[in-house]
Symmetry: C2
Subunit: 208 residues, 2 copies
DNA sequence: GTCTATAGGGGGATAGAC
DNA sequence: GTCTATCCCCCTATAGAC
């Protein structure tokens, strides 16, 4: 009655195996699979067995790459936020409106390039243990503050008029991140067009 | 070794019991507990046993009020969307900017009055079986269309200027719903102030 | 580095007593 | 209407072989 489904089945990341080593790539594959599955079905809905099946290994193998399921989620979220902060570059010498447009483009393009990481970061903070949650929340706050600094400089310049700077920061981030809710790769609008449309909306919102 | 924790412990909705009937109220209590727990921890993370403990009944009792866990979630989401649509009233004869301001106030106040239902509706669509998901998505679309109709009328009047009406609809809803992410009852701003600040932002965004 | 096997714990849902 | 008891399934994590 016993069969060999792991061998018989072709899976997304390649043929499964019952023995043999692919150390160089298994780690990243585990992270990729976990990211996609967590984002699609939710952290609690996804089992380590599903992740293993998606990667093409057995469950036990996963524990060579992560201490436990919780650490896997925390690493994904931390990695995403750190990449975001590392990739974002700002020049305080430029006019605030130019900096805001850069931020908008960066945020939308990143959100559409890594929609799963963005979605996960906003949805599964609650699934983290308290200390992990605090660490990720601090990184997110740092990112929000980057936008808030731009708005502050726009107010100082007199090129922006905001009823409440902190609230405007949160409102703009919510609005921009919302693209992940409806954007479709094969939809009516390409990314450049989306950026242009949002820029019209945002420019109006900040009173420019 | 056996104790009677269900009797010994005072729980949130009243004293637990090992027998006895409270038919009139148990149904609503089940829905309230499920809503709160699902919103806080996620649908998959919450067990029927946890819900039962929160209500103060035993697990089996829940199945007198719902066919299964999936139906419980679907009923909560459908109920929320139907309430939203029933409570919203619009007068197409009024100027579009007035209607938009009403929508904004309604959406923010509702979101802050029932933050758990709002959060759940946006986060747990994915946990629904396909037919349930389609039904809820249709109700949500109806709600979005109510806003889009206001924007269309503003464009027709010439009081609003929008680069893309559908996208503006989605952007505004994302922005407004975002209040649930940061608003705190005991925070810096009361609801009226929040409404006023968002109205400034939105008015600018629609080019008024 | 990966596998197999398993320990130990919860989960959803149902049956039948009261 | 509620409780108790139970079926059967799946889960995370670990131990030890290869």
């Amino acid at each position: 009655m016993r069969s060999f489904p792991a061998i018989a089945r072709t899976i997304e990341h390649g043929m499964a195996r019952t023995h043999g080593s692919k150390a160089e790539i298994t780690g990243p594959l585990v992270r990729e699979s976990a990211l996609r599955l967590f984002a699609r079905h939710g952290y609690d809905a996804v089992s380590m067995r599903q992740i293993a099946a998606d990667v093409g290994v057995q469950v036990g193998t996963l524990y060579a790459y992560t201490a436990d399921k919780q650490a896997l989620l925390a690493d994904l979220l931390r990695g995403h936020m750190e990449e975001l902060l590392a990739e974002w570059s700002d020049d305080p010498a430029l006019p605030a409106l130019d900096r805001l447009k850069s931020f908008l483009r960066f945020h939308i393009q990143t959100s559409l390039k890594r929609p799963e990481a963005v979605f996960l970061s906003y949805m599964e903070l609650r699934s983290l243990a308290p200390e992990n949650r605090r660490a990720i929340a601090a990184l997110r706050r740092e990112y929000e503050d980057a936008l808030e600094a731009i708005l502050a400089s726009g107010e100082a310049e007199g090129t922006m008029k905001l009823p409440d700077r902190r609230l405007a920061t949160m409102a703009l981030i919510s609005m921009l991140t919302g693209v992940t809710n409806w954007y479709r790769e094969d939809g009516r609008l390409d990314q450049e067009r989306v950026v242009a449309i949002y820029w019209d909306l945002v420019r109006g919102a900040v009173g420019a």
